[in-house]
Amino acid sequence: MLKNYLKMAFKVLLRRKFFTFISLFGVSLTLVVLMVLVALFDHTFGAYPPETKTDRTLGVLFVEFRSPDDHSMINGFAGYGFLDRYVRTLPNVEKVSLYSFPTTAVSYLNGAPVTSWLKRADGEFWQILDFRFLEGRPFTPQDEKDRNFVAVINETTRKRFFSDGPAVGKFLGVDGQHFRVVGVVPDIPILRIVPFADIWVPISTAKTDTYRGQKLWGNYLAMILARQRSDFPMIKDEYHDVLKRVEFPDPQHYNKAFGEAETLLDVASRAFLLERGYGESPVRRFMAWLILLMVLFMLLPTINLVNINVSRIRERSSEIGVRKAFGASSLTLVGQFVVENVLLTLVGGGFGFVLSYGVLHFISSTGLIPYAHFGVNYRIFLCGLAITLFFGLLSGVYPAWKMSRLHPAVALRGRG
């Protein structure tokens, strides 16, 4: 039966070129927009190298401190000292890494200033994240301990300073300090805020060691690798407990700490939902919202396609009458028309997919988002397929149902 449905569907598509074109155009365009958004989302939150262990990685990205009367509040990145004392010591986790948010740093190249993004990180940073090394190696916890002036750089930086030749062993001046390059990694897109930088150096090479002080806030984040994902609730609880026991250097000003061991997606979800509280993960609700928005976005093209389909009922009423007269049940006809519509949208989806690929490639090539390299992977493909199928069903079922309800005598008289 399906074969016949498909055969009929193809014939209809080929013989109704204008209708086909209009429908395909709508479907493709819708899909392109959605696919680009999905790719952007995947690019930011998906499990891409070096962040391959996102399924068991939590982060302490922000902390919040409040005054005794709750009137004064500070919210932002934590200080190294705070994280070192309260997060690095969390029990029952596999590994903790501390790293700074990237800052701009100036180097001089042939006398001209060049800015790069500089990230300070500990040795564990390289153990949790799976960087691929083009040459050399990462720096180690020992390098961090010994305050070795070593650096890992990305490909672009190597090209800039060492014109693509091997860089390991060479020296690089950054913000007046000199580092020996130990490794080179591929460029990391800026949207991957955890690993992203141009140059990575040990935290201990900071110009002063005030970062180690008691300051609660600063420029540091923590990454927590759980033994397994099911440990997440326990780790979150332990972190909550720790926050209750924080010793405040100046308790008159700030004496309460709030925060969450969470993923980037948790943070983004909370931001999107404009939520301030801590606690239960908002990712599900965030996803529900995103799906709702997608559906809303698809609504207009859906209504359009539904309209076209419904208006074709009159055009195809003779066919409906004939099929019914010769034994098609209403259900069979619904099947036929839904399959036709799904096929149409799948073809449109195919075009949309190719177009999306082009658009993504274009966005990557403009350099609008530094080091972004949008590709299409199986996740994005499946998502696109799901969107297309959903769209096909959404716009096909109602017209099909309506068509199938047509009484054969009426359909054949063509007064439907």
Binding site: K11, E319, K324, F326, A328, T332, H407, P408
Partner: protein, 221 residues
């Protein structure tokens, strides 16, 4: 095998009510060859549609092989139309997107038959109506008479027990009309198909065993 009792059919539009059929009683026996005659608008097509389960009466009952129509579900009615009834419409109603064979295969699509088997039966039916050489044409590439013969092939391909034909020769010249009549007559004689045919032509009606006359939706005998 089909029995209509006190059948009325009333079409209601927002302003007017048209009584298309009024207290029709009719019994069709297995193997009969019946013609329906009457002026334009007298309700012939409406009656044929009710006999063929394409339409439901406003009042009265339709019984098919003893069972009452209103007790059937959509799926059962579809099955009966598929197995028992072959329809030839006044205006052919071929699907323009499909080739001649594909049109003829339609009734077989709704049976569990393999593609090869369907094709074979469709070719046989087309041979019967003398159109074997045109199977890959599209309806728009055929003459009116040829289209009507495709429609007949489609109606008989599933070997139904009842053939309902609405002016099968209405749009044809008399020679073509005779050929079509020969096909229908031979179906009735040889395969014992029950035939009910609407016609304006007294010459054709004379061939049939029984003539039912309609006037303004009423039986006149």
């Amino acid at each position: 095998m089909i029995r209509l009792s006190n059948v009325d059919k009333v079409y209601r539009t927002s302003q007017i009510e048209t009584v298309a059929l009024s207290s029709i009683n009719m019994e069709v026996k297995e193997g009969e060859f019946i013609s329906i005659m009457g002026p334009s608008g007298s309700g012939k097509t409406t009656l044929l549609n009710i006999l063929g389960l394409l339409d439901v009466p406003t009042r009265g009952t339709v019984r098919l092989n003893g069972g009452e129509l209103t007790s059937y579900r959509d799926r059962d009615v579809a099955r009966i139309r598929n197995r028992e009834i072959g329809f030839v419409f006044q205006t052919y109603h071929l699907i323009s997107d499909l080739s001649v064979v594909d049109n003829v295969e339609i009734p077989l699509l709704y049976r569990r038959l393999r593609g090869g088997e369907r094709r074979k039966l469709a070719r046989e039916a087309l041979e019967r109506v003398g159109l074997s050489s045109r199977i890959h044409h599209f309806p728009s590439q055929l003459s009116g008479g040829q289209q009507q013969r495709v429609a007949i092939a489609r109606a008989i391909v599933g070997k139904p027990r009842i053939l309902l034909a609405d002016e099968p020769t209405g749009n044809l010249d008399s020679q073509m009309g005779d050929e079509i009549m020969d096909i229908i007559t031979s179906l009735n004689r040889e395969v014992k198909t029950t035939v009910i045919m609407v016609t304006h032509d007294p010459r054709l009606a004379a061939i049939t065993e029984r003539i039912m006359r309609l006037f303004d939706g009423r039986q006149v005998n």
